[in-house]
């Protein structure tokens, strides 16, 4: 073979180095096995770093009545009864220990007056439950795990872009990657593989997500025959920045409301009193996001197309202490002093509840040696995610994915990877180098605009069908995308590779949204405004034998009788 391809062998390969990937790698290291972790960004820069509010865990430090059963009930209700109840149980039970473990690794949480881990209120959590570090909890989490990774025998390759999983028979033999800084090709051979690549938020124009959240894990898994679930469920965070344009979509943490911030329209009305008299600003994210959306679209929005979020009634000292990052963010990006002025906010794409279908206890996909954890996986959050549950999710299920992958790797061997499989990948990458190729960023721009315009916070059949057509058109045009120059650190090439994955997510999101003819959780259909009991189902997406995307529905597995007491019964109009 003409190309120089480096081969790396390991017991477990972890793709992605956010919270879930790093926690999984730590588990494999704890099990005494060899682990290689790869990430497309630099170590410690993953999207986890953007998490602000906290980690939901029923420690009961502030509200002693809290326990796993209450957390369980909150998850099921917020997920509007299509969550995997086993995952909700596992999260409720194990999150406290993962938080305490993080503290032993060195994370330094805010404290209660008597010295225990402080917990704050958050939307739709029954009790004050979020362990936090001011409004920078994600940074603390990722730096703490990064320290563990650096001080353990964990090999990592950062700025390593994985193009595809290498499937041999019905198993994953490893993955093919490009080391961005050198342009070298790598083949990773592993007995078991964990995907922890995060979500696809960047398929939308207005999003709080980092550059890297292009759904690469979704794309590579789908192409390898992995089943996806709940892809239509996209969470819109009620409060993203709207101005200046360069930071449109950037997250304004829910902690602002948790700490007492109120929402006002341009008439100065506190409209949440109307939409949600009980929970007000702290109702579930879908409820608040839709309220904000409604106020804006009905003409009661602000100059830049948002609503006001106001925390000025708290003292400047309190705001700077509790929300230091938000204070800086508005001051530096928008020139707004939030201790004196109101913030302008609007809904922004924040999280993908759907993703790879996994078994609750093991995080195993429908491929026996492929596991997934974190935002790329699905099941826990159902139709909507509670704030603070994603950080809990990545720790709890990141660990479990690492444990399961280790157990699998211990009793299996490396698979041989046929040369033609590797050649195929090399040709795939090289195929993007062409004269007069279409600029991938033009296509990405059209794709993300299409998603925001047609598959947004409020959907209907007409717009969804329009989106289906645009996506089909872009799939055709994708065949002509290309770039110039060399493989090394070429964003044009990355744009092409990412676009392939973004198209998979978009197709799945849009088709599933069209299929689900009801409104449930984050999925709102104007043409089907009510929840429908016939839709207490999950939509599964996979690649059919003809290479086309297939969909099927499966009923939600009922929870055991004795757990029903923890959850309010589901009501249909």
């Amino acid at each position: 073979m003409s190309e120089n391809v480096k081969t790396v062998e390991t017991d477990v390969l972890v793709i992605g180095a956010g919270g879930a990937g790093m926690r999984a790698a730590i588990s494999v290291n704890d099990a005494g096995l060899k682990v290689v972790m790869v990430t497309k960004s630099l170590l410690g820069k993953a999207h986890t770093v953007m998490a602000e509010g906290g980690i939901a865990a029923a420690l009961g430090n502030v509200d002693p009545q809290d326990n796993w059963t209450v957390h369980y009930g909150d998850i099921i209700e917020e997920g509007v009864y299509i969550s995997d109840w086993r995952m909700a149980e596992i999260l409720g039970k194990e999150a406290p220990e993962r938080v305490l473990e993080l503290e032993r690794y060195g994370a330094l949480f805010d404290r209660t007056p008597d010295g225990r881990i402080m917990q704050r209120a958050f939307g739709a959590h029954t009790y004050r439950r979020l362990a936090h570090v001011g409004d920078r909890t994600g940074l603390e989490l990722i730096k703490t795990l990064e320290d563990q990774v650096l001080h353990r025998d964990i090999t990592f390759y950062d700025e390593m872009y994985i193009t595809n999983l290498l499937k041999v028979g019905d198993k994953i033999a490893g993955a093919f990657g490009i080391k961005m800084t050198t342009g070298e090709f790598f083949v990773f051979k592993a007995k078991a593989t964990v995907i922890a690549t995060g979500g696809s938020g960047r398929v939308y124009k207005v999003t709080s997500n980092s550059w890297e959240s292009t759904g690469d894990g979704i794309g590579m898994a789908y192409r390898a025959g992995v089943k996806l679930r709940d892809m239509e469920m996209i969470q819109f965070h009620p409060t993203g920045m709207v101005y200046p344009p360069g930071v449109k979509g950037l997250l304004v943490t829910e902690s602002v409301r948790g700490e007492g911030g109120i929402l006002l329209n341009s008439k100065g009305e506190r409209y949440m009193l109307k939409y949600s008299p009980q929970k007000k600003e702290l109702d579930a994210r879908d409820v608040v996001a839709r309220a904000n959306y409604k106020e804006i679209t009905e003409g009661r929005g602000t100059e830049h197309g948002g609503v006001y979020l106001d925390i000025t009634h708290k003292s400047p000292e309190y705001i700077k202490h509790k929300l230091p990052a938000m204070y800086q963010q508005f001051l530096e990006f928008a020139g707004v002093d939030i201790t004196k002025e109101k913030m302008e906010v609007a809904p922004t794409v924040h999280y993908m509840m759907g993703g790879i279908q996994v078994e609750a206890e093991t995080e195993r996909s429908n491929i026996e040696n492929l596991f997934a954890a974190g935002e790329v996986a699905s099941g826990l959050h159902g139709a909507n995610r509670l704030g603070g549950n994603s950080l809990a999710d990545i720790l709890v299920f990141g660990k479990r994915a690492g444990d399961s992958a280790s157990a699998y790797a211990r009793s299996s061997t490396l698979l041989d990877i046929p040369q033609d499989l590797i050649e195929k990948e090399i040709n795939y990458v090289k195929g993007f180098f062409k004269e007069n190729g279409k600029n991938p960023y033009d296509l990405i721009d059209r794709l993300t605009t299409c998603m925001s315009d047609n598959v947004g916070i409020v959907r209907d059949g007409e717009h969804l069908k329009k989106a289906v057509d645009i996506i089909e058109q872009l799939k055709e045009e994708f065949k002509e995308v290309g770039t110039k120059g060399m493989i090394r650190y070429n964003h044009g090439l990355l744009g092409c590779l990412e676009l392939a994955n973004m198209l998979v997510s978009c197709e799945a999101i849009t088709h599933c949204a069209l299929m689900r003819e009801e409104s449930r959780g984050a999925h709102t259909r104007l043409d089907f405004p009510k929840k429908d009991k016939n839709w207490k189902k999950n939509i599964i997406t996979y690649m059919g034998e003809d290479g086309k995307m297939q969909y099927e529905t499966v009923p939600v597995e009922p929870m055991p009788k004795e757990y029903e007491q923890y959850v309010k019964p589901e009501v249909y109009e």
Partner: protein
């Protein structure tokens, strides 16, 4: 300020180019735009082969470090209306160049591995109790997003071949040393292995820190004082000598 901005971007591929150059680009100005917006415009609309590194575009991840008009800064946090419409962007000079604006910052991982992690004192009851006030001191250092601008601006790191770990790593060590439950003192190793003595407290690192960490005053000077106290503390010397004698006896 509605007209185009003129941006000069450093272009160099050490493997193929003979010498570096600054290339001029014109980018339309958008209200409130930051330098990263302009550089991304060049990448997406003019030349996708330009190598840049960015991720969160929110000042939280520390990926887009560069020298803007010679000043080490995050591209995502530098507003064009604050610096004018003639902008020059070059890579961090303290790290080996990969290509264009991208540098190899991996030596930081080697240094990070040398600094012992949190080592809790023995006999602590679990779960730990920590006074809310005691959390504050270490918290300042935990704001670090590892943009490595402090390393870039540090003339010791940049111009001299010394063993000095550099400001980011003193901050990391200080975050553990000032952790309320930590039982180690890292000042000696910072001084011996970490070459902390080479720092002559010019405070350049503090000036460029996008997280406004008082690196020199609160981390480096504190660690230097500890190291000196350890070395020359007369009471400690007496105790040390007595222990030595006891051992001999």
């Amino acid at each position: 300020m509605s007209e185009d901005i003129n941006i000069k971007i450093f272009r160099f591929d050490p493997e193929n180019d003979k010498e570096p150059k600054f290339q001029d680009y014109k980018v339309p100005y958008v209200d409130g735009m930051v330098v990263l917006d302009a550089v991304r415009y060049v990448e997406e609309k003019i030349d996708p082969t330009i190598s840049i590194r960015w991720n969160c575009k929110a000042g939280k991840c520390g990926s887009c470090s560069a020298e803007i008009n010679g000043h080490p800064s995050l591209m995502c946090k530098t507003r064009v209306d604050n610096i004018g419409k003639n902008i020059t962007v070059s890579p961090m000079a303290a790290f080996p160049l990969v290509k264009d604006l991208v540098t190899d910052i991996s030596k930081n991982w080697e240094i990070a591995r040398k600094i012992p992690l949190l080592t809790p004192r023995e006999g602590l009851e679990k779960p730990w109790r920590i006074n809310p006030k005691d959390v504050e001191r270490s918290k300042e250092f935990k704001r670090c997003i590892e943009c490595f601008l402090c390393m870039d601006v540090c003339h010791v790191v940049r111009e001299h071949f010394t063993p000095y770990f550099g400001p980011r790593h003193i901050v990391k060590a200080a975050s553990w040393d000032m952790h309320p439950l930590d039982g180690l003192d890292r000042s000696k190793m910072l001084n011996d292995e970490g070459g902390m003595g080479y720092c002559n407290i010019t405070k350049c690192c503090t000036e460029v820190c996008p997280e406004h960490i008082k690196i020199t005053d609160n981390a480096i000077i504190q660690e230097k004082e500890r190291a000196v106290d350890r070395k020359y503390d007369p009471i400690a010397m007496v105790i040390k000598n007595r222990r030595k004698k006891e051992k001999v006896m």
